[in-house]
Symmetry: C2
Subunit: 195 residues, 2 copies
């Protein structure tokens, strides 16, 4: 494989994590998602629950609250502390060998490396809602709220940490609509891109 | 081929038109680029030069000038007249059979069809500049100006006609960085997506 690392950013409900897991299994390479949480917990002393909640979803409020989010007496906010720790974990993971990394601004953190394929997976609302309803036992209204809230938080988190727009094609090597292409074909196309 | 129509939007210098032509040749299907200009000229009575200049690049000024661009006594601007005529030509082309269509908001115009793959090709500035310098005999400064001007006009034209952001992943089935992947691989990935 010419490109050793595949980062996957994804809209909630698009199947991006599932596609990433399929690729890692087929290629026999490491898959990092929750593992990043465990490693960051070790690094920071923060609880796994806190990192899971905030790692992709902070700052939790609007862009106007950035300056006021949990800033301690050192002038470093808890959000920035967590991002810096996650960044360190992702840089270390990338040094270890071929892998798939899901979420957590990994595309941006690893942007200087030339051995990565950075992917963004999105989808059509109807298809994503069906998946969310099935996976999380939600009503359609509940699924819609969860989807919008999650994507909004991911978008704000990405913009805050990268100064780039989440979902802008220029940030990624490849973006794919999983509702049109299907999960299996998305996995094949990503592996072909990395090959 | 499951998907019959491939639309290609592209950053200037990314090789998007070249990739589209390669795909059409390999698949033995029609390739529409300048042909759309000829057909639109027949439909509208406008000159080919005018359509080439304005077809992807109007309104030529800022978004604030929309309301004031060449609006005639019927209340329809020349820009809108040209877009409507190009739209009709693209809808007719799509009915004729498998093809590749470059530019002119074809992704948006054909968005209701389920037999299309909509692609956006972008690239890294350094690689695009090299291509533009070689193809158009420009200095680097000249190439940079031409690239920025052209992409800005395409972006404004797209936003004006579609109410969407040019280069936003969600508008396309697939987006690809041709500088990272190379033109040949981009062509293969698009054909695989359409297959």
């Amino acid at each position: 494989m010419e490109k050793k690392i595949i980062t996957i950013s994804r809209e909630f409900g698009s199947g991006g994590r599932y596609i990433g897991r399929q690729i890692a299994a087929k290629l026999g390479i490491a898959f990092y998602d929750k593992d990043i949480i465990l490693k960051t917990a070790e690094e920071t002393g923060l609880s796994e629950e806190f990192i899971e909640k905030k790692g992709e979803y902070s700052p939790a409020k609007s862009i106007f609250s950035y300056a006021f989010v949990g800033r301690d007496s050192t002038g470093i906010s808890l959000d920035d502390y967590l991002y810096t720790a996650q960044r360190k974990v992702i840089l270390e993971i990338a040094e270890k060998g071929p892998c798939v990394i899901v979420g957590r601004c990994a595309d941006y953190i690893l942007r200087e490396r030339t051995d990565c394929v950075h992917v963004f997976i999105h989808g059509d609302q109807r298809v994503k809602l069906e998946r969310i309803c099935a996976l999380y036992q939600k009503t359609e209204a509940g699924a819609l709220k969860l989807m919008k809230d999650t994507d909004k938080k991911r978008s704000i988190n990405y913009r805050y940490n990268t100064d780039q727009e989440w979902g802008n094609a220029q940030n990624y090597t490849m973006t794919l609509n999983s509702s049109v292409l299907g999960y299996e074909k998305c996995a094949r196309l990503i592996m072909e891109a990395a090959d």
